[in-house]
């Protein structure tokens, strides 16, 4: 707490200069003014259109220099980079943090913790494990030999690709993670930053330039902001001559927009917008203590990071039963969950930074007009628990945010299973036995990650994401076949 006092910065700055970074070169011209709206910031940035000749790596052969590096050298580089990314010691990170304080739905205390922990995404041990779990270190080091039925000798190696990364702006770790993935797969990345975080990726790139200006990893990272949809830039850049892949986070509109550039030679790795949910079995109601413990775990999944992430719980299916007794128990459980959310520590959760008028309007209407079907506990900036009094989620479930979760009772396990679709990312489940019982069905319905209740936000190193394995897909998998002439 004392620390927080000392570190307190003036975050009132609302005008920023965003640089364009092209392979180690920093361009700071303020050609274009981008004005923030709806809780945004205003910033100037260079006109990327004036630099289109340099922005793409026009020849894929330009990746050769990355192959002079060993994987261990890359891990060391990232570890060193991570150690330099702190608010106190790095003016660019400090500025990115300040900008985020204006754009983010996360409170200052959470953001501070996130920016001071950017190094976690670059930590060599964790990265080594992730790479081993996904691509396999040997596939990045060289050609991996295997023999197929019939004696065919094949050797496979994972090569890097020229990628545009359209990153999400709701958490700065996304930018750090992208830098790590690009370095380790030996790719050439152009990070297109979003208006809700135009600074973090640039801060990391500038730190790399300061650390090792001519290092191949520094020379294969570019960071640019342009307004998404700028056809003059995108039609040129998103061409098979300039890139092999587009890795796009979030935003249905933006992904649909990008999809039109997909053609032979340009692949889309889409990290679609997702929502997550929870299934809680009847075991939660065993006794008061169990109820309270389950409520505390659910509070972490629903209230952590202010429910800003795709992995957060929103609709929570609870096997309380829908008879009067079941509903009464669920209402009590709802109050416990609300209390636990309010008690979450400030580094991971806070009252809403910005109201969502649409959501508030819906919640307020239920309070006064929907009492036959819903009970609302709390409300306003502190968040709310909406307890459905029947086995249906609220009609506005897709916009649940700002720590508003919806508990929905059910009698039949088919009810929550059928609610799962391909837009369902994580499902937190209690107890473990229920998870095992349901996991095949949930996976077939579309769910992508099943997790012990309370750990939806846990950082892991398995490297799977949204069931699409972005690590593997960022690589180009090349095979060398040795046929025996017969």
């Amino acid at each position: 707490m004392e620390n927080a006092q000392i570190e307190r910065l003036d975050t009132s700055q609302t005008m920023f200069n965003v640089p364009l970074i092209i392979r180690g070169q920093v361009i700071e011209n303020a050609d274009i003014m981008h004005s923030g709206r709806g809780g945004g910031i205003s910033f100037t940035a260079p006109d990327v259109g004036l630099h289109m000749a340099e922005l793409p790596l026009s020849s894929p052969g330009g990746l050769t220099d990355l192959y002079a590096l060993s994987l261990e050298e890359i891990f060391d580089f990232l570890g060193e980079l991570g150690s330099r990314l702190t608010i106190a010691g790095n003016p660019w990170v400090e500025e990115a943090f300040k900008a985020s304080c204006h754009t983010s739905g996360l409170g200052e205390s959470i953001l501070r913790s996130m920016y001071n922990n950017l190094s976690r995404s670059l930590e060599p041990r964790a990265l080594r494990e992730t790479v081993e779990q996904t691509i396999g270190i040997s596939h990045l080091q060289g050609w991996v030999k295997s023999q197929l039925d019939g004696g065919l000798d094949v050797r496979v190696r994972a090569f890097g690709a020229r990628c545009v990364h359209i990153v999400a702006g709701n958490a700065p770790g996304v930018s750090a993670m992208t830098v790590a993935r690009n370095a380790i797969t030996r790719g050439d990345a152009i990070i297109k930053t979003p208006s809700n975080d135009p600074m973090t990726a640039a801060a990391i790139a500038r730190t790399m330039i300061e650390m090792a200006p001519s290092h191949p990893l520094t020379r294969h990272l570019s960071v640019a902001y342009w307004k998404g949809g700028n056809a003059a830039i995108e039609e040129k850049l998103y061409s098979y001559r300039n890139i092999e892949k587009i890795v796009a986070w979030g935003g249905m509109a933006s992904i649909k927009h990008i999809a039109k550039y997909i053609q032979p030679g340009v692949e889309l790795v889409a990290l679609d917008p997702k929502l997550s949910s929870t299934i809680i079995g009847k075991e939660a109601f065993l006794d008061e203590e169990t109820m309270r413990n389950v409520a505390a775990e659910l509070a972490k999944d629903g209230g952590g990071l202010n429910q800003e992430a795709c992995v957060n719980a929103r609709v929570v299916w609870v096997e309380s039963g829908t008879d009067d007794e079941g509903i009464a128990a669920l209402n009590r459980f709802g109050q416990m969950v609300y209390d636990e959310i309010q008690a979450l520590p400030a580094e991971i959760s806070s009252p809403a930074v910005r109201c969502d008028p649409k959501l508030e309007e819906e919640v307020d209407a239920l309070k006064i007009g929907g009492n036959d079907w819903y009970r609302v506990i709390g409300g306003g900036r502190d968040g709310a628990v909406i307890v459905s009094q029947m086995d249906e989620a609220v009609d506005f479930a897709p916009i649940l945010a700002n720590r508003v979760i919806n508990l929905v009772p059910f009698d039949d396990i088919d009810t929550p299973v059928h609610a799962v679709t391909s837009y369902t990312q994580t499902i937190g489940i209690y107890p473990e036995t229920l998870k095992e019982e349901l996991r095949d069905r949930l996976a077939l319905q579309g769910a992508q990650r099943l997790v012990t209740l309370g750990y939806a936000l846990a950082a892991t190193t398995h490297g799977l994401q949204d069931a699409i394995e972005p690590w593997r897909r960022m690589c180009r998998w090349i095979v060398d076949e040795r046929h025996q002439p017969s």
Binding site: A168, G169, W249, G251, K358
Partner: protein, 475 residues
């Protein structure tokens, strides 16, 4: 009516007791009362309205309880008692999906003082049927939204309020500062819409047919003789939203709905021809005549385009035609000078512009200084969009528009809109007292939308055009 011309000071007690009688006054005279008097009258009236409705409307009672208000002491108290639009759709959409119209009726009963117990719901299969049943069995007319997400809001207008609405439909035909138009019954009306519409436009149309034309349908020139179906809007929106959630295959549709899809396709296919015929008839038979026409800029623009395609370019209707325009451009961008172009095309010196919304009876007319003037039966507020605090009732303020329609008796008439307005309580440049609203009204969603933010969490946006979507799905 004669009384109106003589009236200079407001009879505060009389109109506080019966504010709906303000609609009997001349429209221009009504906005010229001293602002202080109007405010005094409005405080008394809203206090009485609240006292009368609080115990009859559970939803109002709940809202008052939320704010700890047992009676209205001041206009600031009144500003807290505004229903957000979502109140009129606070039912679960599954009631519609499962056809539980009895429960939907029960829910609606908490929003109106009208007894709905006579409404027969046992054999209803669609929202359209339900709307008809409410009209037939309880004389309650619903005004529903277009519901882009498939969930429609239902605003109940009781029989007494329908009478006020009818009166209002006539009142607003008068342009501010102009004499009241005579012989409305002789003027044919062009309707750029359906014959049956359960929305604000449809309510007005019904009022004219009944009270002005006395049932003479031949006075109407309607683009679509059919019905603006609430089911099409609802189903289209729901299916689009379901598809957006990755939760839809046609196979999952209920058979009764799947069967209707083919009708939607047929309807959509026939639309262009129906439109062409409508415009042919309008221009062939009404050219040079005095007409009545109400719409938004998009509709008026469409008429102009249709006329130009038929070789008409200037002065199509008689100069004393009554052209009314409210509802803005509906997101469309027109070429510069479109207002003048439309006026020239129609052949009228002025267009009776106004600002209003479905939740209130009356449109606010525009004065010579291009400000919308608030009639005395509307108690209006500018509220801070963040805190909901009302602005002081002097000077000029920008914020969220709130209104309590004191002409309404059978539901709680307090509404918190989604519009951002700039409103002045001072005297207008036209010389009339406030409050008046600048010609810059826009939706808050418009202000905040359309940026370049990306997050990993989110749900896909629903599509808009319900019928096109349904037709598409059926193909």
């Amino acid at each position: 009516m004669v009384e109106a011309d003589l009236l200079e000071t407001l009879d505060i007690e009389r109109y506080a007791a019966r504010p709906e009688e303000l609609l009997d006054l001349d429209r221009t005279a009504a906005i010229e009362f001293a602002a202080d008097d109007v405010e005094k009258m409005q405080l008394l009236a809203v206090r009485a309205r609240f006292a009368m409705l609080r115990d009859k409307l559970p939803v109002l009672a709940n809202l008052a309880k939320e704010h700890g208000i047992s009676e209205i002491e001041s206009l600031t108290d009144a500003a807290k008692l505004l229903f957000k639009h979502s109140v009129y759709k606070s039912y679960p959409i599954s009631l519609v999906e499962k056809g539980q119209f009895d429960r939907l009726t029960q829910w609606l009963g908490k929003l109106t003082t009208v007894d709905l117990s006579a409404v027969k719901t046992s054999d209803l299969n669609s929202i359209d049927d339900w709307l008809d049943a409410l009209m037939r069995d309880a004389n309650v007319r619903i005004i529903h939204s277009t519901g882009t997400s498939g969930k429609l809001s239902f605003l109940p207008i009781g029989p007494e309020d329908i009478r006020v609405q009818t009166k209002s439909a006539m009142v607003v035909m008068q342009e501010l500062g102009q004499p009241k138009p005579e012989s409305l019954e002789d003027i044919p009306m062009i309707v750029v819409g359906h014959r049956v519409m359960y929305n604000g436009y449809g309510a007005k149309l019904e009022a004219f047919v009944k009270d002005v034309y006395h049932g003479d349908e031949s006075m109407l020139y309607v683009m679509d003789p059919g019905r603006l179906s609430a089911d099409v809007l609802s189903l289209g929106g729901r299916l689009a939203a379901a598809e957006g959630r990755g939760a839809l295959g046609r196979s999952e549709l209920a058979p009764s709905l799947a069967a209707r899809l083919d009708d939607f396709v047929a309807e959509q296919r026939a639309a262009p021809e129906r439109r062409a015929k409508f415009f042919d008839r309008v221009f062939d038979t009404l050219k040079g005549r005095r007409v009545m026409l109400s719409g938004n800029w998009a509709m008026l623009y469409e008429i102009m385009e249709a006329g130009r395609q038929r070789g008409l370019s200037y002065g199509v209707f008689a100069p004393d035609s009554l052209i009314q325009c409210a509802g803005g451009a509906k997101g469309r961008v027109f070429p510069e000078g479109y207002r003048e172009d439309i006026k020239d095309f129609l052949g009228v010196p002025t267009i009776n512009e106004a600002y209003g919304m479905s939740e209130i009876t009356s449109l606010m007319g525009m004065c010579e200084a291009r400000h919308y003037h608030v009639p005395p039966w509307l108690l209006v507020f500018v509220l801070d969009p963040e805190t909901g605090q009302p602005s002081p009732r002097e000077g000029t303020h920008t914020g969220r528009f709130g209104v309590i329609d004191l002409g309404v008796k059978q539901r709680w008439p307090g509404v918190l809109s989604g519009d951002e307005v700039t409103m002045s309580f001072d005297t207008c440049a036209c010389g009339r007292p406030g409050p008046h609203i600048a010609d810059t009204v826009r939706r808050f969603s418009e202000r905040e939308g359309g940026d370049d933010k990306i997050t990993c969490a989110g749900a896909p946006e629903a599509h808009d055009n319900a019928l096109a979507f349904l037709a598409d799905l059926a193909r």
